[in-house]
């Protein structure tokens, strides 16, 4: 049975010019120990769909789904209190901007221990020990001293490691990583991705990796969902997606990679759309 499954997810925002559909009927499934990548450009609804799952969208958003099951529990019928017990503990999320998603007013140690206190009801000493253990796990040197640092005293890569430490603090079953390396240098990106994959393999987590970087997809994913303008364009395992992309959009996306440049100029997606080779139909 799938660890997490969602069917026909729709997210709408009310705007001055009528409702805007950010996510339009997306269905996803993640098994235990599986890494699912969601790829798409900005505005494709990839982050919004995961924020909807986490219940982090503002009240102006209308979220509906035919089915949303996590680990045998129906997320749709849960009351908010029960939901909060799952979110953050069994389902955790790593956000895109490490510098912006940590609270600048509290020390890193406080922010990690907050999760432990809230979800696992640990005592003070126990929390402290676990926080040190977590920082060591994500590869921060001098973890004991670092606990009393504020986010602004750390680099972007270190902040991202702290975010990861917070996310895995309760041994989640599902980890959602929303562009975890976009703000980072390639060398740091490599370290963070290696760390995530290592943790995923060790803890047997299911993982959803949201990204727009095809290289990151190629390096991490088992299965890939390609999204465009709120719709699912294609779903395939990673090898067949790169070897034999089914939808025209995926093909266009792969062709736009500078790695694959053959001639003098890169093919662009809008160019391909004008040529009529592109139909945004939902792949099933």
């Amino acid at each position: 049975m799938a660890l997490f499954e969602i069917e026909n997810l729709i997210v709408e925002f009310d705007t001055a010019s009528g409702p805007f559909r950010a996510v339009d009927g997306v269905s996803l499934k993640v098994d235990e120990r599986e890494v699912l990548a969601i790829v798409g450009e900005s505005g494709s609804g990839k982050s919004v769909s995961m924020l909807a799952v986490m219940g982090l969208l503002p009240w102006t958003a209308k979220v509906s789904a035919d089915k949303a099951v996590f680990d045998g529990k129906d997320l749709l019928s849960l009351d908010p209190a029960e939901r909060r017990r799952i979110i953050g503990r069994d389902v955790a999320m790593i956000f895109q901007e490490p510098m912006a998603s940590l609270n600048p007013c509290f020390t890193v140690g406080y922010q990690i221990e907050e999760t432990l206190r809230f979800h696992l009801h640990m005592g003070r000493k126990e929390r402290h020990a676990r926080a040190i253990e977590l920082l060591t796990l994500v590869g921060i040197s001098d973890p004991e001293e670092r606990l009393s640092s504020y986010p602004h005293q750390m680099s972007g890569g270190q902040c991202q490691r702290v975010m990861i430490a917070m996310a895995i603090s309760c041994n989640p079953k599902l980890l959602i990583a929303d562009e975890p390396t976009t703000a980072l240098d390639v060398t740091i990106q490599k370290q963070i991705l290696d760390l995530l994959m290592e943790l995923q393999a060790e803890n047997g987590m299911g993982m959803i990796m949201i990204t727009h970087n095809m290289g990151v997809v190629a390096e991490t994913a088992d299965r890939v969902v390609v999204q465009y303008k709120g719709r699912k364009m294609e779903e395939a395992d990673v090898l067949s997606l790169f070897e034999n992309p089914k939808s025209n959009y995926t093909r266009a996306l792969l062709a736009a990679l500078p790695d694959n440049a053959t001639g003098d100029r890169l093919p662009t997606i809008s160019g391909m759309m004008e040529e009529g080779g592109f139909t945004p139909a939902v792949a099933q």
């Binding site: 095809m214 290289g215 990673v238 790695d259 100029r265 662009t268």
Partner: protein, 276 residues
């Protein structure tokens, strides 16, 4: 041998960090003696991680900051802005496009005024001619004349970067410094902007200094590559030399860290995973 547009000889830049009651003052050597030269119509790419001094070097080349020591030649003439403000003629030779198109445009300034401002400051020119030139430039970078009176927030990231490029080209510079111009853009938009840069380079015989940390972009656009590490140029050569035979260990690390999106490397990774 063709004309050298820009040449740097042993350029250094130090920043003084003031001390306090508890800390003594110290000096940060941001750029430690970098030399380079670029021929007309070519692209030099500067690669390195954040904090390696590549943006500091860009500011020196663009005549924003003076170098602490070393020599910078533009069109064969020595330039020293520490001795005096650069003249309008000098300003017209070098322009820069910044990384973040959301931060580099004034939100309260209409696009037309964004484009005309460099002309107002540096060239004595009638208003009608300025307007004419701004309109032509808008079309050239793939926008339309109707965009002239709009504000930056009405544009997407890719369009804004086109505006930033248009602004940089208004003075018809011979050298354009591009500080990570596509790193904030989506893949498909990135391709469009890279194509635009290639078209403009052909049309105006522009020389580019292209700063990036994305090696796949660098491999696509550069003629020559310089890899910087902690303020030093650890590798400098033609694109093919650097990519086929990296000498310095940092360059090798950089290549190894770049994610690969080809079928063979995916197969290799899956095989490793199944074996484990």
């Amino acid at each position: 041998m063709s004309e050298i547009v820009v040449e740097g000889k042993n350029i250094k830049r130090d920043y003084a960090v003031p001390g306090s009651l508890f800390k003594p003052a110290r000096t940060v050597h941001a750029v430690k003696g970098v030399s380079f030269k670029v021929e007309k119509g070519k692209t030099l790419a500067i690669v390195g991680e954040s904090g390696c001094g590549k943006s500091t070097l860009a500011r020196i080349i663009t005549l924003i900051d003076p170098a602490t020591s070393g020599e910078l030649d533009l069109d064969g003439k020595k330039v020293d802005i520490a001795a005096g403000r650069p003249t309008p003629e000098l300003r017209r030779k070098v322009q820069i496009v910044f990384q973040n198109p959301y931060g580099s445009l004034n939100p309260r300034q209409k696009i037309g005024n964004v484009l005309m401002e460099p002309l107002v400051i540096n060239i004595d020119m009638p208003a009608a001619d300025r307007r004419q030139r701004a309109m032509e430039m808008l079309v050239k970078v793939g926008l339309e004349e109707k965009h002239f009176n709009r504000y930056p927030h009405m544009f997407s990231g890719g369009q804004r970067q086109r505006i930033a490029i248009a602004r940089a080209l208004m003075l018809r510079p011979s050298l354009l410094v591009l500080d990570e111009p596509v790193s904030a853009l989506d893949l498909s938009v990135q391709a469009q902007v890279l194509n635009l840069l290639a078209d403009l380079q052909d049309e105006f015989e522009l020389t580019y200094i292209f700063i990036s940390h994305d090696l796949s972009v660098v491999r696509y656009i550069a003629d020559e590559v310089m890899v910087m590490y902690f303020g030093e140029a650890v590798e400098y050569g033609t694109r093919d030399e650097v990519f086929s035979d990296p000498k310095h260990s940092y360059t090798k690390t950089l290549f190894a860290a770049t994610p690969r999106a080809d079928v063979e490397s995916i197969k290799a990774r899956l095989a490793r995973k199944n074996a484990a």
